[in-house]
Each structure stands twice: as C-alpha cells, then as structure tokens.
C-alpha cells in the first residue's frame, strides 16, 4: 500500500503513486459512465475556438466564475477602517461567515463581524427584534465604540427600514442614545462590493456630519482609499509620502492596522482605523480626495454637498498616475513635493528604463475592480506593454467608456478590448482565442493559468494562495517598483523554466538577463 504508517506521504505526491492512479481511474470507469476520451478531447478543443467564444460571450442568464463580491462585503471592509468599529450585518447569518472568511483568508488576520441572524420568523414578521437584540448583544459582548450596520439581500427584500429600526433599538435601550450606529443599505442584488464600500463610508460620514456646521481648515485633505486588498501596504506608503510633504490629512477609512496586527501576545479585536473625532473633524477639510473613483461616487457627492472640493483618481499606480496624485495634493495643500520624492520617482523611471526591452510589446489580460483595471492598464502602457483584455465583472458602461478613452490615448492600446460585466469564464475564451503573455488578477485566476497556460500575476483582492503580498504597496513610486519587479520576475522565471532543459533548450539559460 502506498500510504502506510511507516512513511506518511503528503497528499500532493501520494495520489500520484501508481496504486492511486489505478484506484481513481477505476472509480471513474465504474461510476461516471464517462464519455469516450475522444469526445472529451473534442469538447475541450471546441471550448478554445472562436465559435465557442461567441456562444460563451452571448450567455445571458448564467454567470460562471464571477470576479466580484457583494455589497455587504464592501461594507464590512469599510467598517474595519474606523476606530473600534464592529460590523453588524442585518440579515441571515451565513453571509457574515463568508465575509469573515474572505477577509481572513486574504489578510491572514482575524476578521470580526456579527449578524442579526434573521431566520424564517424574521422573514415573515420583519427583523426589528433581531436588530434590537443584536445591537444589545454586540454592544455588551464586543465593547465597540461604534457599530456599523449594513444589510444583506434578505433584509432588503422584506424592506426593513434601518434608520427606523436603529432608532427603535435605541429607544428600547439596546445601545445608549448617543452611541454611534451609522448604517448603509447594501442589497447584494445591486452593484458589488465597491458599492457597498461607498454606501458604508457615506453612512459613517452622514452619521457625524449631518447638521454640523463646517469651518474650513485651509489646505487640509481627506483621503478615501476605496476597497483595497492592498490597503496594508498602500495606506502606509501613501502616509509616508504625505508626511514627507508635510500635508495635513485624514484618512477616512483606513484598515491598514486592523488587518496587520503584530504577534505580541495581545489580541486586538480592533486596531487602528480612523478615529471617531477625526471623522467628525474631517467635515472641515478643504478637499476630499478619493483614490478610487468607482468605489466612492456617492461618498464624493456627499462631500461635495457638504461644501468640500472633491477630486478622484483611479488607484494611483505607476509614474503618471502617482505624479497626478502628488501634484493635486500639492496644489490643494500648498505644500511642495520634496526632493526625496523626486528622487524616488527618478528611481522608478530608471528601473523601468533598465527593463524596457523585456516589457515592450508584451500583451496583457487584466481583470478586477474597475479602478484597479484602469490603473494597471495605464501602467502597463507606460512600460510599453499592450493591454489586450480589460475585464471587470462589476464594470459599468461609464467605466467602459472611460477605459476606451484611456486606451485610445496610446498606440499601445490599439488592440485593447474592454469587457464590462463579463465573468472569468468569458475571460477563458478570450485568452484562448486571442492569447496574451501575462494575466493580471487575483487568486481565482489560477484556473485560467492552468487551462490556458497564461502566467498569472496576483495583484488584486482576494489573494488566498500566496502569502503577504498585501503587506507591500502597489501605489506611489515605490508601489510602481514592486509591480514592475513582480511582472519581471514572472517573465524571467518562465523564461528560465523554458530554457533549462539540458542539451535541448539550455542554449538560452543565461546568467545575465
């Protein structure tokens, strides 16, 4: 027997043992009534054709392998960026388990969120009682400073009124009257996690800003990062840059510490996050800057209505995008961009020049959240690469139009195609029919890598099967350097693998690349 107590094999090598191959093959023969091998091969080949691509892209009712999550997930992530804030999701309780696992698996950190645990009774009679009990329990059990309430589909379908419910709960003494319970309606059948993020951040701002008088604090800036799986690295990098410039700023929603707590013997259910008094004071900022426009449309409108000037970016990644961000910040704050940052920029440009021959003309497929896809496509073109497929399952027609404009701005974008609201199974067809050199996305792309042989670079949330990537920035010049290095490593690793066969391909197995 291949597996025995004498020598225990791990599952990966074990099942390649001949006995196991036989066992598994027999299982297939006896229980599957499998199609003949030929039919399977033919079908596999068929799915690589243009013909199948047309059928695949014409799908209407079925989504296969989506690249988006739902609104409440975004709301839970948003809430994690505020001081001692517990996420409270009003709905049935399975959803919350998903959000916690999802965030935990990506950040490798505990993730806290609770549910009002609605059941069938609540579906019929409404979830008020669950809200009252739930808020009381959360307040008692987890000692939060704020409870951020969002909804799942279920509460939305039966039409629970959060504002009224929360008032009722306060009247019944679930939490004190002056306790902060911001809320956001986040039905999952509308939009995606980026919209949920938007609603929750707006909900928090409204909670503190509504009816308050604004006294402008000239030159001060609010930064809203948007839903970002790399917030740990990115927010810290941006703070470093802003500190170097001496800007007076407040991050509104900053989950970088919450999702990166040290192992020092202390369990922090809450860590870091924007302080409540800072959120309150943020009303007085001269301007609010969003790092991701599609993530923050409603929040920005609200900031504008509150009297602030607003400006948004598409995930400042790469040379030009970082330039624009810093110049804008400098303009609003009146602070100069110091020499140290100029040198950093020069180093990134230098690195890109060093490696240009390896990157020029490479074709890419990119998928993920709208702002991310925009940013990556832009940076790729800066390196001489050609974005060929740009796909966002949560992309809108407006995003599509903006992407097309970006791609039209350079000859490198000539062959690019933009795919709003398509899924990863559509991407599979695209990669077979119009192959590219590299695929940029998240962990889910590993099936595309396997099926189509396109090397995958993981730069997008979620990353479950690699560790610690989120600890390094993608934004700013330093972030650009990291993205650049990651792409180059992928290219060189592959090249080495393809040229290492002794006496066959090793004429190109070179020491210097």
């Amino acid at each position: 027997m291949p597996q025995s107590a004498e020598k225990v094999l791990d599952h990966a090598p074990l099942f390649r043992e001949p006995e196991y191959r036989k066992m598994l093959a027999e299982k297939k023969r006896n229980f599957e009534r499998p199609y003949p091998d030929r039919t399977v091969t033919d079908q596999r080949e068929f799915t690589k054709t243009w013909h199948y691509r047309e059928i695949n892209l014409a799908r209407e009712a079925l989504v296969v392998n989506p690249a988006k999550a739902c609104q409440p997930l975004g709301a839970v992530f948003a809430a994690a960026g505020f001081e001692r804030t517990m996420s409270f999701v009003h709905g049935s309780q399975g959803c919350v388990a998903y959000y916690r696992s999802h965030l935990s698996r990506h950040f490798k950190e505990p993730s806290s969120a609770v549910s009002s645990s609605m059941t069938e009774d609540a579906a019929v009679f409404g979830g008020l009682k669950n809200m009252v009990d739930g808020l009381a329990n959360t307040y008692k059990l987890y000692e939060p400073k704020m409870i951020a309430v969002s909804t799942t589909c279920m509460a939305e379908v039966i039409g629970d009124d959060l504002h009224g419910f929360i008032e009722n709960a306060k009247d019944e003494g679930a939490v004190p009257h002056d306790f902060d319970v911001p809320f956001a309606h986040t039905p999952a059948f509308v939009g995606s996690h980026v919209d949920g993020y938007d609603s929750m951040v707006k909900g928090v701002l409204e909670n503190f800003w509504k009816g308050e008088q604004r006294t402008v604090n000239p030159g001060s800036i609010n930064i809203i990062p948007g839903f970002d799986g790399f917030c740990v690295g990115n927010n810290r990098e941006l703070k470093r840059l802003l500190n170097l410039m001496g800007v007076s700023y407040t991050f509104i929603q900053d989950a970088s510490d919450q999702f990166d707590t040290p192992s020092d013997g202390e369990f922090r259910m809450y860590d870091g996050g924007t302080k409540i008094e800072d959120v309150r004071a943020a009303l007085n900022a001269e301007a609010t800057v969003s790092l991701q426009q599609y993530n923050t449309r409603r929040t920005l409108e609200y900031c504008k209505a509150a009297g602030q000037s607003t400006v948004s970016f598409h995930y400042p990644l790469g040379v030009k995008a970082t330039d624009e961000f810093l110049v804008k910040v400098s303009e609003i704050s009146g602070r100069e961009i110091p020499e140290a940052i100029r040198l950093e920029r020069g180093r990134l440009v230098d690195a890109m020049a060093d490696s240009q021959s390896w990157l020029h003309g490479k074709k890419y497929a990119i998928y993920g959240d709208p702002d991310f896809v925009y940013a990556v496509a832009r940076f790729i073109m800066e390196t001489g690469g050609e974005p060929t497929h740009c796909l966002a399952t949560n992309g809108t027609p407006a995003w599509e139009a903006e992407m097309k404009k970006l791609l039209a701005s350079s000859p490198l974008g000539n062959d690019a195609q933009v795919w709003a609201s398509k899924d990863l199974w559509a991407m599979r067809s695209l990669l077979f029919t119009e192959p590219v050199d590299l695929l940029i996305g998240n962990s889910y792309g590993k099936y595309l890598e396997r099926d189509t042989g396109t090397p995958l670079i993981r730069l997008m949330f979620p990353i479950f099967d690699r560790h610690h990537h989120h600890r390094f920035p993608l934004m700013g010049y330093q972030g650009g350097l990291r993205v650049l290095t990651t792409i180059l490593d992928k290219i060189f690793d592959r090249l080495d693998r393809e040229t290492m066969q002794v006496g066959v391909t090793d004429y190109s197995y070179d020491l210097t690349r």
Partner: protein, 475 residues
C-alpha cells in the same frame, strides 16, 4: 455505542436533540437546529451547509440561484479532493439583479441558466440551490427544475435550503433530504454485491478518505457511495443498493443514514477514522455488519488480521513522537464528530485535552466526550475573546481549529494546526494519526514560538529575567 432508535421520526424531530423532547410545543417546534443569537459572530447559514454537503459531488453543475453575493463571496472555498471532474469547482450563478427581483424574471432566468449549463457542459446533473432572495420572492425552483429536467432529459435537483431557514447544520440535513427526494434510488445498478457499503458524511478533505479506501479494498469491501466526498451522480443514484453504511459525520447527515435504513433496510453505525482504536473499530463494525447482511464470514478474520498488522505498524511509528508530545495540552475548537473523535485520537497518543468545543455536537457526541474526559473541558460557542484568553493563559500548548480562528491563536502566541476544511494534511486512518502527531510536533516545536514569545531585546528590563517563572523561561 448507543443505538439510534430513530425510526419514524420526522425530519425536524431528531431524537438526539433535547429541544425535541421538550414539553413546550413552541420549543419543540423550533426543531433540532440551534437558532443563532443575533449579534454574535456565529458560523454559516443553511445554504452554506447545503452547498458544503453537496458540492463534493464532482460531475454535477452546482447552480446557485441568487444575487451574486452567495456565490461571489464563496466559490471554490473547500479543499475536498476529486479524482477526475473539476466541474464542481466551477462557479455557476444566476446573478439575480434588482431588475429580476422587481420584474419577476428570475424563474425564467433560472430555466435559461440551466439550459446554458446543459449546452456548454453536459453535466451528469444540475443541482439548483435556492437562497434567501429567491426563496423570499417565491421562486418555485421545484417547478423550474421539473420542467428543465423534462425538457433537457437531465436530472435537475432542487435544493431548498435558503440561508434564513436556519443554521449551517440544518442546511447539511436539508441537503441529505434533497438526495433522498431526488437522487438516491433513481438508478438501478447492475453490479450490486454483498460487500458494498456506503460511507456517509465523509468529505474527502485533502483526499483523506482515499487514504482509508485501500484498507477496504484490501478486505474486498467496495464503497458503493461515499457521500459526498469525491462522489459522482451515479454513485449516489445507486447508493440504495449498498448493504451497510458507516456514518462518519453524524451531525451533518444523520437523517440520511436513518432514512436509508428505513427505506432500503441499510443498517448503519456511527464511526470515525481518526485514531488507531477508532479506525480499527470502524473496520470491525463494517465487517460485522456486512457479514450479518450476507457477506462471507471470513471477512471478520481477515479484518482482524489487517487490524493487527496495521496497528502494530502505527504504534511503532508513534513511538518517535511519544516522548516529544507527552503531556502536551491541546485546545480543540472544532465541531460535530471531530470534537470527540479527534480528542480521542489525541489522547491515545498521549496528549491531554485542555478543552474541546461542543458547538454543532449532538447529544451522542457529547455523551462520548463525557465518557472520555474527566475534566470540565467542554465549551459551547466561544467568542474570539474567550478563546483568546484561554489561549493566552497557557491553558494549552496548541490549538487545533479552523481557518477563522487560526489568527486568534497566533495573536496569543499559540501554535496552531488546521483541523477543518482548509487543512493540507490527511489525518484519517492508521497513518493519519501518525501524520497528526507529526504535524502537532512540528507546530509545537517550531522555533518561531520562542521568537514570538520573547520581547524585543530593548524591552527586557534586568529585573524581568529574575521574575520569570521556570515555566515561562522555558517558553
């Protein structure tokens, strides 16, 4: 082992549950599944449970009839191994939108989605899962499935376990009901043998069950269906012709075992493949049941011979770890069958149980624990904070749990090992217990714990060293 005199009990009336024996009608009516407490961070929902229990059926397309949420957040998050098909890992959803909800288009969309799956993938069957939204707006998935099955000549199985129906565990059981109502017994096998068994409630995580199967192969016992681990639609459709069954995770699928006994006269026993004694006991029970059902009586002596051989080997191997693990205390934070079976396996190799959770455990599970553990080490639902304080008080040397509590252990400077679905090693069978010992040993003795527990050098006040107890200094 207490026998389950469970015949003629209806689905919600699980005799293993105190609530069902309550005199109060209202309490009784709530059924066996524990209603979750609002405001607590508890586990999954009924949909989650149903999906978990059925998704390992590998050549079936699992279609989630829901807004994107249910699937978008959760696709492909289980590590159960499949011997050929990968269809089960592909995510299918109808992505119901506001427009569908308002206009009432979702039933039509579902039908169309089934057609699109059938055309592109030709699966053995399509399983359609109702979720909160589609159940609330009243989609009749039974009718749509029936119509689609007729139209496409394909089994289309409705799974009615929307999230709000109750807990994850209830969902497991509803999944079993779906199999009973629509799948099991729909195909007659032409190769039924007197030594065919079913394994129920085994998920084949990290290929765990495959590592036990060769033992059964050696005995000439054929696994007709392992439900759900690495199963095919056809395994399950013909499962009613097995002669006996072993129930592995009774918390998940006890209703399935019981009803298969009622309908097709398939006797079952509850067992575990964790630990040497339990593995041997399981093999004995299988052999005994099959012989009672007409298999050749020599099966029993052959089983005993195999047990002797395998046990000796495993005990010998464990000797290496015994001195390294003697007296180490384990905190077990898992659910159901594992709360006692893994505890038992650990005690067998000389570890102490500092605590074990009894969430999702049936009364039978708890009874087993009571017999094993003298100390007061069973706990119900644990909040992260409680868990953390148990760990940081050094009540244990290692925690075994699932992914969501992993990082709490690490923050408490406590070694940790995954015992749930994301585990990377197999712990079943005679070799599995050796692997478990090896992994615990590796984890406990990893040098990082010394690093983690020591303050930075500049934080070490001179007096601190003297104050340290011997035990602390060793850590």
């Amino acid at each position: 082992m207490p026998s389950l005199s469970a015949k003629n009990q209806d689905f919600f009336n699980e005799p293993a549950c105190e609530r069902n024996r309550s005199k109060d009608f209202k309490v009784r009516k709530k059924g066996c599944s524990q209603p979750p407490m609002p405001g607590a961070a508890a586990g999954g929902c009924a949909f989650d449970g149903a999906k978990v229990a059925l998704q390992p059926i590998t050549n079936v397309a699992h279609l989630i009839h829901a807004p994107l949420a249910c699937e978008g957040n959760s696709w492909d998050n289980r590590g159960t191994a499949s011997s050929s098909h990968m269809l089960w890992r592909t995510s299918f959803t109808t992505d119901v939108t506001e427009f569908d909800v308002v206009m009432g288009h979702s039933e039509r969309k579902l039908f169309k989605a089934i057609r699109e799956i059938n055309e592109a993938y030709a699966p053995a069957a399509v399983f359609v899962y109702a979720t909160c939204v589609t159940a609330l707006i009243g989609d009749d998935i039974d009718a749509v499935c029936r119509r689609a099955a007729e139209k496409f000549g394909l089994p289309v199985v409705p799974v009615n376990a929307p999230g709000f129906a109750g807990s994850k565990n209830l969902g497991n059981k509803l999944a079993g009901e779906a199999l009973l109502d629509h799948v099991i017994g729909t195909v007659e096998p032409d190769d039924a043998r007197s030594s065919d068994i079913n394994i129920l409630g085994e998920f084949n995580l990290s290929g765990e069950f495959w590592q036990v199967r060769p033992l059964l192969d050696k005995l000439g016992v054929r696994v007709r269906a392992c439900i759900p681990g690495d199963s095919r639609y056809l395994d399950i459709a013909t499962a009613h012709r097995a002669r006996a069954a072993m129930m592995v995770c009774s918390t998940a699928l006890i209703n399935l075992a019981r009803k298969m006994q009622e309908r097709w006269d398939i006797p079952f026993f509850e067992g575990s493949f964790y630990g040497i004694t339990d593995t041997s006991e399981a093999l004995r029970q299988i052999a005994g049941l099959l012989v009672k059902q007409g298999a050749g009586p020599d099966l029993i002596s052959r089983t005993e011979a195999l047990i002797v051989e395998e046990e000796a080997r495993a005990w010998r191997r464990l000797e290496v770890y015994r001195p390294r693990l003697q007296g180490k205390r384990v905190l077990l934070n898992t659910g159901g069958v594992k709360s006692w079976s893994v505890a038992h396996a650990l005690m067998e190799i000389g570890l102490e149980i500092a605590g074990t959770s009894i969430k999702k455990s049936t009364d039978n599970d708890k009874e087993r624990l009571k017999q094993m553990l003298t100390n007061d080490s069973m706990s119900g639902a644990t909040t992260p904070r409680e868990l953390y304080s148990a760990l940081s008080d050094h009540k244990a040397d290692i925690m075994l749990s699932g992914g969501r509590t992993q990082f709490i252990a690490l923050k408490a400077k406590m070694p940790w090992l995954d015992i749930n679905q994301e585990r990377q090693h197999s712990y079943a069978g005679y070799h599995g217990v050796v692997e478990l010992a090896r992994q615990i040993d590796l984890s406990i003795h990893n040098p990082i714990w010394a690093q983690v527990r020591e303050p930075a050098p500049w934080e070490m006040a001179p007096a601190r060293g003297e104050e340290m107890s011997e035990e602390e200094a060793l850590l």
